[in-house]
């Protein structure tokens, strides 16, 4: 068993946890963060990427709208490299109640959400694929945010000031002495080792999992995991965030982010944040609703669907999920339950993560007797590398991470391929993964299977979904690691190949129809007919996976 001591332990490597870590360290408080998967592996990495203007909540949830509007401006200032200023539109489609639009404008005025009505023809000029029958259009300050990049930017900055970040560390117990929580027991999922963390204070920033953590200290938090399913379309069908101007409901928003456009979302309560699936009905519903905004969208090419779980907090019994406020809630277990040493932060939006962190750390600092004020609203987060993606500073993810990290921009890679003239070296043509990227990822410590390579390099995440590169990556893996793997018990590359094909299959099936199904059949011709991988030896081997609670495709 390993033991270390810190002042504040943050549980959860999503947006809120990472924000809290940076806030703490900027106030001079010694702190560490533990995350059971990779950073952003929970809900942060599985949302549509919307930077809220607040418009979505002005009528239904004005407090959340005000918070979003304020934080929208703050985030644009402190992390411009993580945000694309797409602008947003709220449009009244023929299917929508026309009376809502006036209420919407009034509510925007009351809540300080910037809004400006624009002529319909101007909206159609900006977004030519938009339904030509829309009746009114309102411009707002929505944007697209890279939540991977933003979370890493926060933790990178926190590390610069001395904070510790431990990924693949799962909390297995909280240590409680009488009415005080004094630390946590974690399992290092890579080594299997138990790690004991002594902490004066714990911040439970685990979102939809907050109830599970609190239960470890005998505390009850009523978190309702609200599953939201989204679909990534193969291209940016819009360049502006487009919302329907109506009470928030399923499938009423399109967010352009990086090279894709995301249609979202559904909202279905699930009993357990670790157990859920995506149904054909949900996918169908999102596409049919999308037709109101962009006619023909259901005939366009969908790449994949995924779901995240909202950390909705329920004080008493509300009606449906949609009726639960979207504002956040800070739960002080000392005043609520008489148990000192831990607070839980639940609810909220990605857009308000910083405010949630500030509010949380204000309370923690007060308990610790620290009077330094919060600085995160003013202090810009510097990009780690020349305005490009920042890289996690772990030995397992070395210098290649800047180009191979999950939050890269495709344009950066293209520039690199052009500069090096390495077209002939592309192993994954869709995502511009070169042989050099792939070899570095294969050689890096802790990589156990081809799916880990995908997270590191985006291998197989483009339109062909691994039709060619799965074979190439498995064969290159064999060449680089065959000798050492055999000694250490890692299964042969053929087992990894089959494992990857299966993982990919789980992610693509919800959106397989039309062109994407056609592509999938070509992939079958490759793997079954031409390569006959089903007839390869070693069918009994199973690939080693890092323990994960659930497997759903990651965001875009």
């Amino acid at each position: 068993m390993r033991t270390f001591t810190t002042d504040v332990l943050v549980i959860g490597g999503g947006a809120t946890g990472a924000g809290a870590l940076r806030d703490l360290v900027l106030r001079g408080i010694r702190c560490a963060l533990v995350e059971k998967g990779d950073l952003t592996h929970g809900t942060t990495g599985r949302y549509h990427g919307l930077l809220h203007s607040g418009g979505r909540y002005v009528v239904k949830d004005p407090q959340s709208a005000e918070e979003c509007a304020r934080e929208n401006e703050v985030l644009r200032k402190i992390m411009p490299h993580c945000i694309e200023e797409t602008g947003g539109l709220f449009v009244v489609t023929p299917a929508d109640d026309e009376a809502y639009a006036d209420r919407f404008v009034d509510a925007c005025r009351r809540t300080g959400v910037w809004v400006e009505e624009i002529p319909v023809r101007e909206a159609l000029h900006r977004e030519p694929l938009l339904n030509p029958r829309i009746k009114r259009a309102f411009a707002v300050r929505d944007g697209a945010a890279d939540s991977f990049l933003a979370t890493h930017a926060n933790t990178d900055d926190a590390r610069r000031y001395g904070a510790q970040v431990l990924t693949y560390h799962r909390v297995v117990g909280l240590e409680r002495v009488g009415d005080r929580i004094i630390g946590a027991l974690c399992e290092d999922l890579r080594s299997g080792e138990t790690v004991r963390v002594h902490a004066s204070f714990i911040i439970n920033a685990t979102g939809a999992w907050a109830g599970k953590i609190a239960a470890m200290a005998g505390l009850r938090i009523n978190v309702v995991p609200g599953k939201g399913t989204m679909i990534a379309m193969n291209h940016r069908i819009v360049n502006t965030v487009v919302n329907r101007c109506k009470m928030p409901a399923d499938g009423d928003i399109i967010v352009p982010i990086h090279t894709v456009a995301v249609l979202g979302t559904t909202d279905i309560p699930v009993p357990d944040p670790d157990v859920y699936d995506i149904t054909p009905e949900e996918v169908h519903q999102i596409l049919e609703e999308g037709e109101c905004l962009v006619p023909g969208v259901s005939r366009m090419r969908a790449l994949r669907a995924w779901a995240g779980v909202r950390p909705l907090y329920k004080e008493q019994d509300a009606g449906s999920d949609r009726d639960i406020p979207r504002t956040y809630k800070l739960l002080d277990h000392e005043t609520r339950n008489g148990v000192a040493g831990m607070v839980s932060i639940v609810g909220g939006k990605w857009t308000t993560y910083r405010l949630m962190a500030e509010h949380t750390v204000d309370l923690v600092a007060q308990r610790l007797g620290v009077t330094t004020p919060c600085r995160t609203a003013d202090l810009k987060i510097e990009p780690s590398h020349d305005g490009a993606a920042s890289a996690p500073h772990q030995s397992a993810r070395s210098q290649f991470a800047i180009l191979a990290s999950p939050f890269y921009m495709l344009g950066h890679r293209l520039a690199e391929v052009e500069a090096d003239d390495s077209y002939g070296e592309l192993i994954c043509e869709c995502e511009l993964v070169t042989r050099a990227h792939l070899e570095a990822a294969i050689r890096s410590e802790g990589t156990a299977n081809l799916d880990d390579l995908r997270r590191d390099t985006r291998l197989g995440m483009g339109p062909c979904q691994g039709g060619f590169c799965t074979y190439r990556a498995a064969a290159i893996w064999h060449e680089l690691r065959n000798g050492t793997d055999r000694a250490s018990g890692v299964p042969p590359a053929t087992a990894l190949l089959r494992h990857f094909l299966q993982e990919r299959w789980k992610g693509v099936t919800p959106t397989l129809w039309g062109d994407q199904l056609r592509q999938e059949r070509l992939d079958e011709l490759n793997y079954l007919e031409t390569l006959a991988v089903d007839r390869l030896p070693d069918a009994g081997h199973v690939a080693i996976e890092q323990k994960r609670d659930y497997v759903v495709e990651e965001v875009v």
């Binding site: 064969a475 299959w505 129809w513 056609r518």
Partner: protein
Amino acid sequence: MRTMIVIGAGLSGLMGALALAEAGLRPLVLAKGQGATHWTAGTIDVWGADERSPREALQALGESRPRHPYALIGAHAVENAIARFRALTEVARYPYVGGLDRNVLLPTAAGALRPVALLPVTMAAGDVRLGGEVLIAGFHELRDFYPPFIAANLAAQGIAARGIYLTTPPAFRRHEYTTVTFAHMFDDPTFRSDIGRQLRAHRGDATRIGLPAILGLRDPLGAVAHLQHESGAQVFEIPTLPPSVPGIRLFALFQHAIEQHGGRLQIGSEVNHGDGQNRLLTTIWSEAAARQQEHRVERALLATGGVAGGGIRTDHTGIVRETALDLPVRAPANRADWFAPRFLDPHGHAVYTAGVATDARLRPLGADDEVVYDNVAVAGATLAGTDTVRERSRSGVSLATGWAAGRILAGLVS
């Protein structure tokens, strides 16, 4: 005006067009693009679902699965198609060997062993029964062929194999390499001589050498002979991921034969609508270069492929359509039933069995088994009822039903 229309230029369309051309009917082949020939191995896989020989399986299917494409046309028709195909490849001096008596097991580019009925003679020395040590040789520059991986998987199945990389001679360095750029290099005797010398140096105890299927487009047999002479071992090709050089050869061979007999290929024309009356298709429309073209139809062969070829198209609501003539389709009732949980499920995914049902004369049938058009025959992957990829019968079904459909439309089958 050509009124014998073949829609689709994959193996089934090409076989059907050949039958029509040979009968003097001057077919017009309309195809959106090149067919599955260019994406697949270029072998003829008649049956590989189990250990039976292709002939045994064909004979049993008539009883056990009367709606299987092979059963519809009969084992005899399959034999005829194969005989015609072999004769065609002989004349073209790119002969296919093998037959229906037994499958040959050929190594794949992953090192698996794949059952094949007919194979181009350039792959013949890959037959695992030949024994002896095998050298697998490739090029670092070729992204779709990895000799150490192939050799290791062959070795795991008890086949003595080594994998090595060859050096591309400096004079032949390119900006980017594909199977086709390599095929052009192998057309050049100086390139082959250099490679042959390298093979000899690496040969060791190997009696057979496997290379990626890139050994030239002009004269692959000559290239193999040249490499065998230089290396002192038997040389064979192993199919790669697309683009498939053996498939391109096959397409060229068909195109030549069809045109020689008075047929014509119009690639780039997508047929997207058909119209008829009294059970006769009378007109079809194709689209190319933003222009609609109307074709009067006397008889038509529909060979547009399945889901992969674009002949069968699905949408998010679970609707499955035949894309050229909008014929009735047999498919799983709803989208929830399309897929098995495992990608490599031995029974495959139900959606790929979707297609057009036909009678024994390959005429399209409606929901109550009524004939939709008397003057249309359907062939290849557009046919309903079986997943030929899982069965390892895809190219065999295309070849046999294409030929049968062409013969039926030519009035040569009673």
